[in-house]
Symmetry: C2
Subunit: 147 residues, 2 copies
């Protein structure tokens, strides 16, 4: 894998300190990575959170209109860059100062709105990931009330 | 592991679809799980994000006062409940309708404020996790500007 000027490569994560189980897949209109918008929009296209049969009972209590946090696995991203140059930027920044998919643990967090609750998952708006992205978790959104 | 009335147990995740590497540890004043507040507060105690040596260059560009999203691994949580009864609640809800630590992939997301940038990590406020919690990721907070 190439490294652009200013970028620093570390080692690829080589330990399995914990393991993940994909709970389903996300279906979106974005077929290739190049089709994905830079960030999801509340008025973006309908996307489907298709939840594996075993985990569907865990959806009970999620309602239409709910704001949810969606965690997914950015399966196409490399994991070895310590410093990287974002698209359109002139200088490198540390990976933890960026929301780039390229990171040691490529877990994305996104906020979405539930449009409908289906037998096999949820229809939502707000996501920007590529079609077929592995789903990790769904949580109610929570912002501290103090803010 | 026990199941309370109204709770439903599924299978434990038994596949390793992806692996995680811990990038450090979180040090907090909360020694046991019972010491942890229900949620982090912006004016909560100072906590340390101790980042492993290999990943410290990835902190470059994070500034004091920044709002960050911290992802960590809830290593003490069981992973097999589909429906659970939250503390103080009378009825069960689906796991994905709750922010309980008990979930197939026990990844927590929390917002924190950077109080200082150290050679070995960050001092922050806003976390509620137990001392020694494995750290997975640090990202700049991002709320869509449309909201």
């Amino acid at each position: 894998m190439t490294v652009r000027p200013g970028e620093t490569r570390g080692r690829m994560p080589d330990r399995a300190d914990a393991t993940l189980t994909f709970i389903g897949r996300i279906h979106t209109p974005f077929v290739r990575r190049a089709d994905c918008p830079r960030r999801g929009r509340p008025d973006g296209p309908l996307c489907r959170l298709l939840v594996d049969t075993a985990w569907r009972p865990a959806l009970e209590g999620i309602e239409v209109g709910a704001r949810i946090e969606v965690l997914y696995w950015m399966h196409l991203a490399r994991r070895d860059l310590l410093r990287q140059v974002p698209a359109g930027a002139s200088a490198a920044l540390g990976t933890f100062a960026l929301r780039s998919p390229v990171r040691p643990n490529p877990i994305a967090t996104a906020l979405a709105t539930v449009v409908s609750v289906e037998a096999d998952g949820l229809m939502v708006r707000g996501l920007d990931c590529v079609d077929g992205t592995p789903l990790l978790d769904i949580k109610p959104d929570f912002r501290p009330t103090e803010e």
